[in-house]
């Protein structure tokens, strides 16, 4: 009989303790971010999709070695190149120039193998995270085009 | 401690036929018990048994208090064989990981089930059947587990083309 009443008593006490905790939480400030109205700064290492880096002239640093394409686990990078003739020290040399850098972001797993394998520091992660869409095609990025736009905006 | 006793018990299955030196290197290797370097391989005992010795070997481990870690298969297409690998480990601090292997011909992959000894082998065997098509004779419910119910393909076979 004593156990019966002590269980009722202890049980009620535990319930009141719980209610006390939620009562205190009620008066604490909210911790959420009202997303479309407020945004937070992405951390420096945040991995968005990859992006080409431009050299001083505004041309991509990429030399079309294809390391990123080979390293990619999901095969989401497609490179294209054209050769142009440039004059170096009076001699005419052939040089490969990047003509296409397509990223299929639907397949990308953001592992960072491409950035890690790039010996020329030509790609980096962007801080882009607002990438909602209902169409697949919106995730096929033409990074060369993107770089041009970014350069134009900066200029 | 448990390492030696288990090794002896498993060795007894091969009744005196001590594995010759270099048995490890031979391909496909002969049946027998080999101690492995834990630092490199991650397990201590490696026993390859004939299919009909399997239940005896697993019973030894069961009596010694091992728990079943996993069952998996490997398709050795060049040797036209399939291997079933059973991993066992222990709950106590007398660390001993035991690997039991058995090889079956590729065209007739029949292995006795050990789900009668270890109930937990049930799903592992079903999974191995899914992926390799190895049939576990005596299994109570050998239907696809991870693959769709009507799957008749075995994706981990080396000659599997999607």
């Amino acid at each position: 009989m004593g156990g019966y009443f002590s269980e009722i008593f202890n049980g009620s006490k535990s319930l009141l303790i719980g209610m006390g905790i939620t009562f205190r939480e009620f008066f604490k400030p909210t911790v959420t971010v009202q997303y479309p109205y407020q945004t937070i700064k992405m951390s420096a290492r945040f991995r968005g999709h990859i992006e080409l880096i431009a050299d001083e002239e505004g041309k991509p640093k990429c030399v079309v070695c294809g390391m990123c394409e080979r390293a990619c686990p999901s095969g989401c990078i497609t490179l294209g190149s054209t050769s142009i003739e440039i004059e170096v020290d009076g001699k005419i040399k052939k040089k490969k120039v990047l003509s296409k850098y397509d990223l299929d972001f639907t397949k990308c797993s953001l592992c960072g193998q491409c950035v890690e394998n790039c010996s020329f520091g030509a790609i980096e992660f962007s801080k882009e995270y607002n990438l909602a869409s209902t169409r697949k095609e919106d995730y096929h990025f033409n990074l060369l085009e993107r770089l041009k736009r970014l350069e134009e905006r900066n200029a | 401690m448990i390492l030696e006793t288990t090794q002896q018990a498993l060795q007894a299955l091969f009744a005196g036929s001590v594995p010759a030196d270099g048995a490890e290197a031979a391909t496909p290797r002969g049946n027998g018990v080999i101690t492995r370097n834990y630092k490199i391989h991650g397990y201590h005992l490696d026993a390859q048994v004939a299919t009909d010795q399997l239940l005896a070997a697993v019973t030894i481990l069961d009596h010694a208090g091992f728990f079943i870690e996993s069952i998996t298969g490997v398709d050795w297409i060049k040797e036209n064989q399939m291997e079933v690998i059973y991993d066992f480990s222990r709950y106590d601090f007398d660390t001993c990981r035991v690997v039991i292997r058995t090889r079956v011909p590729r065209d007739q992959p029949l292995v006795p089930t050990i789900s009668t000894i270890y109930a937990g082998a049930n799903w592992h065997e079903r999974e191995t059947h899914d992926f390799f098509g190895i049939k576990f004779t005596g299994h109570p419910h050998l239907v696809p587990l991870l693959l769709p119910e009507d799957a008749d393909f075995h994706p981990l076979l080396k000659d599997f083309k999607a």
Partner: protein, 328 residues
């Protein structure tokens, strides 16, 4: 005669409006309150403080298609939501909000409210059975056994109060408690020393009767998907939802009248409808607060609580009060 009829019609319209408004804004209050407990803002986009959220939700629910699952019992399926809402509104008719505000005062008010409250169990049973869904049937069976077992201690405590006040008329019960909180029924007196415990029992039972957490076994969303209203969408679901909140208001009102002196001021000054409303909203806030604090009980835990704890204690209390009433 026709005047009384007109009176009743007006009162019913007001009761429906009151119930609907309460249901809508209690949802808002519950969502805001729960959000505060969990340290988020809650609905705050539509209108100031998200106050337009309930009408917009209502519009959304009303414009949705009413689906009847194949093989369901169409009549039961359609009747159930109505049956969940209608008795709750009917109960409002007899509740005295203050001295002069009562649609139709009845001498058997307590009995009538309990009679209507029992119909809620029917609605759940119909909904569960009519849906042709295993989860719904299981949930409705649970909910009915829960309602049945909690009506007993609830009625016993109500009888205790009726005995003390000597009336089943809700207005008379309120009036008998007038003149400060020491006159209220919750305050232990010579005749009924265990009244605070009765109040707690009654409060727990009204939680269970309204299927609120921690006794929301009829919904049990993590086990039975959505319980008895799994198959309901559109306004069918809306009616269940409104019925639930209307029942909460009824439960809080009844608790207030039976134990907290109705419209009486705790200090014996300015009695009026505002005190009544204040009391019921404090009780409702407690309902909400409890819901967002506790996990759900098990079905056997719930029945054990009723049959092993609440019923013996309330019976003991009834006998004690009866004896003391005879003595004093």
């Amino acid at each position: 005669m026709s005047l009384t009829l007109l009176n009743v019609i007006v009162a019913v319209v007001i009761a429906i409006a009151f119930a609907a408004a309460n249901a809508a804004y209690l949802v808002w209050a519950e969502r805001r309150g729960a959000a505060r407990i969990q340290r988020r803002p809650g609905p705050n986009i539509n209108g100031p403080f998200g106050l337009l959220q309930p009408p917009l939700d209502g519009i959304k629910l009303m414009t949705k298609q009413l689906m009847i699952p194949g093989g369901a019992d169409k009549i039961l399926f359609m009747v159930a939501p109505v049956l969940a809402m209608a008795p709750a509104i009917m109960s409002f008719v007899t509740i005295p909000f203050s001295e002069g505000i009562a649609a139709h005062n009845m001498e058997i008010g307590v009995l009538m409210i309990f009679a209507f409250a029992s119909m809620g169990a029917m609605a759940i049973l119909f909904a569960g059975w009519g849906s042709r869904n295993k989860y719904s049937v299981m949930a409705s069976v649970r909910a009915v056994s829960q309602n049945v077992s909690y009506e007993i201690p609830m009625l016993i405590t109500a009888i205790t109060v009726v005995m003390v006040n000597g009336s089943m008329d809700l207005k008379a019960i309120s009036t008998a408690q007038a003149g400060g909180f020491w006159h209220w029924n919750i305050f232990p007196s010579l005749q009924s020393p265990l009244m605070p415990i009765s109040f707690i029992i009654f409060f727990i039972c009204s939680l269970a009767e309204t299927n609120r957490a921690p006794f929301d076994l009829g919904e049990a969303e993590s086990e039975l998907v959505a319980g008895f209203h799994t198959e309901y969408g559109s306004m069918g679901f809306g009616l269940f939802f409104m019925g639930e909140y209307a029942n909460i208001v009824i439960g809080a009102s009844l608790t207030t009248i039976l134990f907290l002196g109705g419209w009486d001021c705790p200090f014996g000054m300015f009695p009026g409808v505002w005190w009544f409303l204040l009391k019921i909203y404090i009780l409702i806030a407690t309902f909400i607060w409890i819901r967002w604090t506790f996990p759900r009980t098990t079905i056997y835990g719930l029945l054990n609580l009723s049959w092993k704890i609440l019923i013996p204690i309330s019976l003991f209390n009834l006998l004690l009060t009866a004896g003391l009433l005879k003595v004093f």
